[in-house]
């Protein structure tokens, strides 16, 4: 490794200011990234009390030279930007501020050695002050111990969540780095308990290597639902594993995206992925992906944020369309049946049919015939009057157990039963939530739901919040909760699925302070579970009831995601479709 030099002042200014260390997982991220940059092949991470008491990262990388020690802890000192060129960054670190930032808010101990034979050194750093170097034999590599994180900034300490939650974040952070470095062995222990143990794979095939890593992190069940894809377009290489369209989740927690092997958390990328799945996936579900984007170093700017989680591409528009195209291609290669359902194709067919109108009109030309047909459908006498009264008309029939057709005074209406009902339930939930009077059914037989301990923690943290939605939960054991009361509208839903989705929402939203602003999201999850599914047969009464409820619900014309819940065709339009006018 190059020797460490101080950056010239002008370059320092280029590097945006801001704090690197938000919480224990940020420390883990920085230390592990340093170990990766140091060309280690084994990285062990130990934490205690969610990282609040202790974080220790041990590697077998190149080690730190005794003469460089002081520099390593100095702000903006790095060995990684040799030619002072921020445009071409190939290492994970480059800002030269991680160690100094961590050092200023904790007590650190460093053990390092640059060869197996040379004597290693150890030293302490307290509040940024480097202690005396002592001889301390060890094999080549570095161990960095961070104790009492944030002891100098008690305000920060207060913002930390429970041990379980912080541990979960650390675990997720290690998973990401492990995915992009399958040739490195990762071991992660929390309070001496092994959480992750993933051996390196020496398979020369990059997809086999990644497969090995994914299976060891998430299990083979998860892997079975993924498709390998690898596309090189222009100067970009997109590759990785993308989930089958049938394999989806209610949030983006299992979408792993990497740009030049750096884990990136970027809404724009997530949206692009969603766009690629648009034709295959319901709007409220998220595909699961482990996606790598390799781009020429000079085309990406990673120096957007001190945490290096975001990127800017020179030509985002272009990248997006290439990305969407290559994911789609990957999905199609899987030969999945749903891949043939394509909105554009359908629209095409309608347009083509339009041109064939001459052929179609002949068949229904006889007005008598069509009149009779409608009379039969009218079976019940007073239909006409009733139609006039109701804007959405009278339900005539249901087709494909998904759509309802109703007849109005001067046309027909096609209603998407699930979207419509979901909207109604959603509005009701929101209204009742605001007025604080949700009707609650107490359960005669409470439902016990198994969760992992991190999830348990998150749920219990939000108990009061959920209670306002009439979801009354209690801890049942260390790995289960018991649901005692549910909102009346949801009594027939699958409670355990609902709870799983709510857990996902809560993890995604994260901070309980911004929870209030995310009520809509929770409401939609609940509404989705509480509403009539597509594919359920409905009886006439039930359909009419739904129409009447829609009429009395504000904004019922759109589902929670902005799509229409019904389409109206008036007689004029129908007649012109048939070429009668």
């Amino acid at each position: 490794m190059n020797e460490i030099k101080e950056l010239p002042q002008e370059l320092i200014n280029k590097i945006s200011a801001g704090e690197v260390i938000e919480r224990p997982s940020s420390v883990v991220k920085e230390l592990v990234e340093n170990s990766i940059d140091a060309k280690s092949s084994i990285i062990d991470i130990y934490i205690r009390n969610g990282g609040k008491t202790e974080i220790r990262v041990s590697d077998n990388g190149v080690g730190i030279n005794s003469k460089d020690v002081k520099l390593a802890f100095k702000r903006h000192a790095t060995s990684k930007l040799s030619d002072h060129n921020l445009q071409k960054i190939s290492t994970l670190g480059f800002r030269g501020e991680a160690l100094s930032s961590i050092a200023s808010i904790s007590r650190m101990k460093i053990y390092t050695s640059i060869s197996d034979i040379a004597d290693g050194k150890s030293f302490e750093v307290n509040s940024g002050l480097i202690g005396e170097l002592k001889p301390s034999p060890r094999k080549i590599g570095t161990t960095i111990e961070v104790n009492e994180l944030f002891y100098t900034t008690p305000a920060r300490l207060k913002f930390l969540k429970t041990e379980n939650y912080e541990t979960l974040l650390i675990k997720q952070c290690i998973q990401k780095l492990a995915l992009s470095n399958p040739e490195i062995e990762f071991n992660f222990y929390s309070n001496e308990k092994k959480i992750i143990s993933s051996l390196a794979s020496n398979n020369p095939n990059s997809n086999k290597k990644l497969e090995h890593r994914i299976v060891s992190l998430f299990g083979s069940e998860f892997f079975k639902n993924l498709i390998w894809f690898n596309e090189k377009i222009d100067c970009y290489n997109f590759y990785g594993f993308i989930g089958l369209p049938t394999f989806h989740h209610s949030n983006s927690a299992k979408q792993f995206t990497f740009v030049n092997k750096r884990p990136i958390h970027d809404r724009y990328l997530y949206n692009s992925i969603k766009a690629a799945y648009k034709d295959f996936l319901s709007y409220d579900r998220f595909p699961q992906v482990v996606l790598f984007i390799n781009s020429p170093l000079e085309d990406v700017d990673i120096n957007v944020h001190p945490t290096k989680n975001e990127v800017r591409f020179k030509n985002m528009q272009n990248l997006r369309s290439l990305l969407v195209r290559s994911i789609k291609k990957g999905l199609e290669s899987a030969g999945h049946r749903s891949s043939t359902i394509n909105t554009f194709k359908t629209l095409d067919i309608i347009n083509k049919n339009k041109n064939n109108l001459n052929f179609m009109t002949k068949k229904v030309e006889d007005p008598l015939l069509s009149n009779n047909y409608f009379k039969e459908a009218n079976s019940k006498n007073s239909t006409e009057e009733i139609c006039q009264d109701y804007p959405l008309g009278l339900a005539k029939s249901q087709f494909h157990e998904t759509y309802i057709i109703s007849q109005t005074k001067n046309g027909i209406v096609i209603i998407d039963q699930h979207a419509a009902h979901e909207r109604i339930v959603y509005e009701k939930l929101k209204k009742n939530y605001n007025q604080n009077n949700l009707e609650t059914q107490i359960l005669l037989i409470p439902e016990i739901i198994e969760v992992i301990s991190e999830e348990l923690d998150i749920l219990l943290n939000h108990r009061d919040f959920l209670a306002r939605y009439s979801l009354l939960i209690e801890k049942f054991s260390n790995e289960s909760i018991i649901v005692r009361e549910v909102p009346l509208i949801l009594i027939n839903c699958n409670i355990s699925l609902l709870m799983k989705d709510i857990i996902s929402d809560l993890i995604e939203i994260g901070d309980s302070q911004i929870l209030e602003t995310n009520i809509n999201k929770i409401c939609s999850s609940m509404a989705c579970h509480g509403s009539i599914r597509a594919g359920r047969q409905m009886y006439q009464d039930e359909m009419n009831k739904l129409l009447r409820e829609m009429e009395s619900t504000p904004f019922s014309g759109q589902c929670n995601h902005g799509r229409p819940t019904y389409i109206e065709l008036n007689l004029n339009q129908i007649e012109s479709l048939f070429g009668r006018k």
Binding site: L444, I495, K545
Partner: protein, 368 residues
């Protein structure tokens, strides 16, 4: 195969099968019924793989054999035959058709061989008993409305049948309410752990028992239940789930008893809950000395309320219920006096009637 039967017999037999045979089946043979000849009768069998019904009817056999034909088509043809006609069924092997003759009519239907027709394996039924059709139908009909729909908790999707002392008990719950009916039995089942009869079988058995008042034979194995009703045998797979310890949810300390007339109470609740357009209507009961005020609230300030005379002494209580849950119970209790036993905390309410002392209903209240 060649035989003749009376339309009356064949029609009533085929009508028993219509709800078993799945109309839109992906396996074509499942929309067929199997016809098999015996000495002086034929046996017709229908199955949906989980449920199988077979029935024997008298017939004059001219040539023995077996085959399967589309259930719906055969039923429609037979239905339209004149009421007192004799129907002839004749197989023509060369063309693969069955000819149906009655009066001056002649029909033909293509048939499939019985080789691919799935039949349930014969099973050792270690438990057998004779039970009055009326008793069994009581156990099922007075309890089935409490069954639930739940993908994750299978036990909600059926009726739990088990033995308690010298009773046979049926229990159904949807997680919010529970029904238990009991009937005395003379023969004891040995080592009978209790079974859960799936919903579809519950409805079929209930229909088949209608109007039948002799004894039926009940046979149970680890995975199946079989019932012989007259000439008909219905066999169903059981739900593979364990039923929760429901006894523990029956409250022991409810001590606030309200008694009132079943019909009047039912009418009151039905009337009052009209104001609520919701799928689940809520009613509120305000109970004080010998008076119960039933009220319900709808959208846009609409409300309905009605008083009803009751027998009650004790502290005032107000309690909310899902109207449907109460109406369902009152509907099976029919007439006479119903008693509602409340507790002072959130324990479920017990509904009973002197007219059917062996039925017990629990309803969990709502919080408002």
């Amino acid at each position: 195969m060649d035989f003749s039967v009376s339309k009356k017999n064949l029609y009533s037999c085929l009508s028993h099968f219509q709800s078993v045979v799945e109309k839109r089946n992906t396996i074509p043979i499942l929309s067929n019924v199997r016809i098999k000849t015996f000495e002086s009768c034929i046996e017709i069998t229908a199955t949906d793989l989980a449920l199988e019904i077979s029935e024997k009817i008298d017939a004059k056999i001219n040539l023995s054999g077996e085959l399967t034909v589309p259930s719906q088509l055969l039923f429609d043809i037979v239905r339209k035959a004149p009421d007192n006609s004799e129907i002839d069924l004749r197989e023509e092997k060369d063309s693969g058709q069955v000819f149906i003759f009655f009066g001056d009519s002649k029909f033909s239907i293509g048939y499939l061989s019985t080789a691919d027709f799935p039949v349930m394996e014969n099973e050792d039924f270690d438990n057998k008993m004779l039970i009055n059709a009326k008793d069994l139908s009581y156990l099922i009909n007075n309890c089935k409305f409490s069954m639930g729909i739940d993908e994750s908790r299978q036990y909600l999707n059926g009726i739990y049948l088990h033995q308690t002392l010298d009773n046979l008990s049926s229990v159904a719950t949807d997680g919010h309410r529970l029904s238990r009916c009991q009937t005395k039995i003379t023969e004891k089942l040995n080592d009978f752990k209790g079974i859960i009869i799936p919903k579809k079988a519950v409805f079929e058995i209930s229909k088949l028992l209608e109007g039948f008042d002799k004894k039926v034979e009940l046979k149970i194995s680890k995975s199946k239940i079989q019932l012989s009703i007259d000439n008909l045998i219905i066999t169903s797979k059981l739900l593979n789930a364990s039923f929760p310890d429901y006894e523990s949810v029956i409250p022991k300390n409810n001590n606030l008893i309200m008694k009132t007339d079943c019909n009047a109470f039912s009418e009151t609740i039905d009337r009052v809950s009209t104001v609520s357009l919701e799928k689940f209507r809520t009613v509120k009961l305000d109970i004080s000395n010998d008076l119960c005020v039933v009220s319900s609230f709808g959208q846009e300030k609409s409300a309905g309320t009605e008083q009803i005379k009751v027998k009650y002494t004790g502290p005032n209580i107000n309690i909310n219920f899902n109207a449907k849950y109460i109406l369902d119970v009152l509907n099976v209790l029919k007439a006479g006096e119903v008693s509602l036993t409340f507790s002072e905390n959130t324990a479920p309410t017990i509904l009973k009637s002197e007219n059917s002392p062996n039925s017990l209903y629990l309803i969990m209240q709502m919080r408002s």
